[in-house]
């Protein structure tokens, strides 16, 4: 037993990394199809968007970059499908400099989406009328306060350098208070600022979709009703994909849903590793081994 403890407690980290790699690779190649349930905080966010009427305008703030693509981008794509399918008009912007690339790519991908019959259901949508991508602007909280006074003053042109003043979408919703909600998809701390500087001032609901690492800090806002929905990490994105029914829209599960089996496999391995390491640590502590962990 003590020899085994010695081996386990001195295990080369590369072996652990290799097992983690296998735990990710195997379920991706051969999915298990493990079930998952939709949590109330994700359902609340989804139902708020579902309750909107055709023509309503919402703000999507894409505050994430490539480093958080796996967790946040699937959420953005699912949300755009939901909006365009229901005729909801998104005003998309980003408050971080590495945000425009992914935000624009996601929008282009969804607009060019082709269904199983070869139809492009969103082909007729026009920039400035049915949606608009305003791009990036530095300033953070100042931008939130600025669009509270008017979108076109803060963003005179959109991402494609088109004048925003003449856009029909801003005739119907000239300022933040005229939109129905802010949906912040973030890998940085901007949800913390959207609430006091944006949605609380404008009196509109707020939904936060964030990386898993930052999800715990937003639960107080959800509990206080300052955030109507909270979608945390890849798990939250997978739940949202299932609610939007991405499998029916695109013919296959969304990327977040596909990644959940691998996530579960790694979690099981980590839990087992923690339990096993602690058992051997206790054994080791009772009768210390030469070269063991002190």
């Amino acid at each position: 037993m003590h020899n085994l403890a010695k081996i386990i407690l001195n295990l080369d980290r590369r072996i652990i990394y290799s097992v983690v790699m296998l735990c990710v690779a195997i379920p991706l190649i051969r999915p298990f199809g493990l079930p998952f349930r939709v949590t109330p905080e994700v359902r609340d966010g989804y139902e708020l968007i579902e309750s909107l009427k055709e023509g309503d305008v919402i703000v999507i703030s894409c505050d994430y970059g490539p480093s958080a693509e796996a967790e946040t981008h699937p959420m953005y794509v699912a949300l755009l499908h939901q909006c365009f399918r229901k005729g909801i008009r998104p005003v998309i912007l980003t408050l971080i400099p590495d945000g425009p690339g992914l935000a624009n790519r996601g929008l282009e991908d969804v607009l060019a989406y082709q269904d199983a019959e070869g139809q492009k259901p969103y082909e007729h949508l026009e920039s400035g009328k049915d949606y608009v991508f305003l791009g990036f602007k530095t300033g953070g909280q100042a931008i939130m306060i600025g669009i509270g006074q008017g979108f076109t003053g803060t963003f005179p042109t959109d991402y494609n350098a088109q004048e925003t003043a003449a856009m029909p979408i801003f005739r119907d919703a000239p300022k933040l208070a005229d939109t129905k909600c802010v949906f912040d998809i973030a890998s940085v701390g901007y949800p913390d600022f959207w609430i006091p500087y944006g949605t609380e001032r404008a009196g509109i609901p707020f939904i936060v979709s964030c990386t898993a690492v930052s999800a715990p800090q937003y639960y107080p806002y959800y509990a206080a009703g300052q955030a109507t929905g909270l979608i945390g990490g890849m798990k939250g994105a997978a739940e949202y994909e299932s609610l939007v029914d991405m499998a029916a829209i695109t013919g296959s599960d969304g990327p977040a849903t596909k990644g959940l089996d691998a996530q579960s496999a790694v979690h099981v391995f980590i839990i087992l590793a923690i339990i096993i390491a602690n058992i051997f640590y206790i054994i080791d502590r009772r009768r210390p081994l030469s070269g063991g962990v002190a």
Partner: protein, 211 residues
């Protein structure tokens, strides 16, 4: 819409896959290939940020309003001057000028932040902590109250932590540890998600395995 040729797409995928593998090589041990990919990533990120900031902020908000024509706006010179004052901080003999710009910035930010933080964050959060006991919240409201009280007591250093105060602050530590545990669990989930994202890219976009 940005058009990418199939060759360009293929090249992009191969470069991205190669760089991902170079970064993964750190798992074995630190090596020059990893250092190269890391330095390249930093350089590209900085370049991308600089170009985006120029075209999305400086060009439309500084260059365009200062170009003679219908959009000319001389007021823009004021924030431009204050911004240049901040840069003068690197010249010791002129660094005093930066204080003027910082004073304007701090005053403006404080004026913007204080009322919004109080009305938009502090008061609603305090209100939520002291929510009335209802049929739906009777079991959770006391836990929140207890957690907030004990945790604040743990961070109250004007009384020695022994006796009743010590016992209360130890309960506070339990709440703090539970909070750290939840954060750690979410952090593990986040890091694994990033690995999954890269592996999905390698398997399906690069190697072309059936998705």
């Amino acid at each position: 819409m940005t058009e990418v040729t199939p060759i360009g797409q293929l090249l992009g995928v191969w470069i991205a896959a190669g760089l991902t593998l170079l970064i993964f090589s750190f798992i074995y041990k630190d090596n020059p290939a990893f250092k190269f990919a890391e330095a390249l990533f930093l350089g590209v990120s900085l370049g991308y940020t600089a170009v985006n900031t120029y075209w999305n902020s400086i060009a439309p908000q500084v260059i365009r309003p200062l170009t003679p024509g219908v959009n000319f706006d001389a007021w823009v010179l004021l924030p431009v001057f204050l911004g240049l004052c901040i840069i003068l901080r690197v010249i010791p003999s002129l660094s005093w000028l930066s204080r003027m710009a910082f004073a304007v910035y701090i005053a403006g930010y404080a004026g913007m932040a204080i009322p919004n933080e109080i009305s938009g964050r502090l008061l609603p959060q305090v209100g939520s902590t002291m929510a009335p006991f209802t049929a739906a919240t009777w079991y959770i409201t006391p836990v929140i109250l207890l957690g907030v009280f004990c945790t604040m007591m743990y961070f109250f250093f004007s009384l020695e932590h022994k006796g009743a105060v010590g016992r209360i602050s130890r309960i506070g530590v339990v709440f703090v540890m539970i909070s750290f545990g939840a954060s750690f669990g979410y952090t593990v989930m986040a890091r694994v998600s990033l690995l999954i994202g890269r592996m999905q890219f390698l398997f399906f976009d690069w190697l072309g395995l059936p998705n």
